[in-house]
Amino acid sequence: MNGASAGVIQGGWEFVVAAYVASAVILLGYAFSVFWRYRRARSRRDTAL
């Protein structure tokens, strides 16, 4: 026995970090993409007027 209880997941921080990093990258990336596309569309509209 190495002290680990049966049926209990040991460790796993690497999966936790991966999930949070993936969430941050996708949510921030999408937010940045929306802000950037919106600003560009507004400046195009202002130029056209």
């Binding site: 209990v8 997941i9 040991q10 936790v16 999930a19 969430s23 949510l27 937010a31 919106y38 195009r44």
Partner: protein, 232 residues
Amino acid sequence: MGKGVWPFVMAGLGLALLAWGSTWGLAFAPREAYMGEVQRIMYVHVPTAWNAMLVLTFAFACALVSLLRGGWRWDARLEAAIEAGVVLSGLVCIQGSIWARPTWGVWWDWDPRLTTTAVLLFAFGGILALRQFVDDPVKRAVWSSVAVVIAYVDVPLVYFSVRWWNSLHQLQSTPETVSRAFHWPLRINAFGVLFLLIGLVELRARLAFLRREAESAPPPPVRVAEALGGVR
């Protein structure tokens, strides 16, 4: 504060709540008895899943209003909600896959919950692609609204799949099924994703509306020099 600023404020508030809830979930919430540290993925996975279904329900409402009453603003909201729904559904699949590896031993399984979620992602992703390919704005609005009404059938299937069929995925996480110690980070992140989503959907709808205005705008006057092949 100008009226146009509120989506930025909502998005900023959402990000701040997400930072707070995630710090709580990672550093201060207790480890779960059986899943150990891996359970901390729940604090981002479950709020993402809730809000994915919520924004796709909003897309369904926009599609109905767009079909019954018309109006380009509803079509713009529809486009925004579909895009946000696709992003969140994709993120749910990635987070779920990362959680599945240490708990189930596989990255993916064709289990009812996972399969219906994948169908959701591809169905709404397909509708988003459809909108890119249709040039006529009226046809684009009607066809995508009808497609959303049909594809929305999958949202209740995703929700109830864990109850109706024998699924590897655990039952829905609710305040009744989650210990009190885990409530706060889960709720804070749920509101964080919600506020971020509200801000982004509003901005994305404004963007869609600006593009729609540009489509209907008369073509710019042709300059003589350009028409004769001269330098701009």
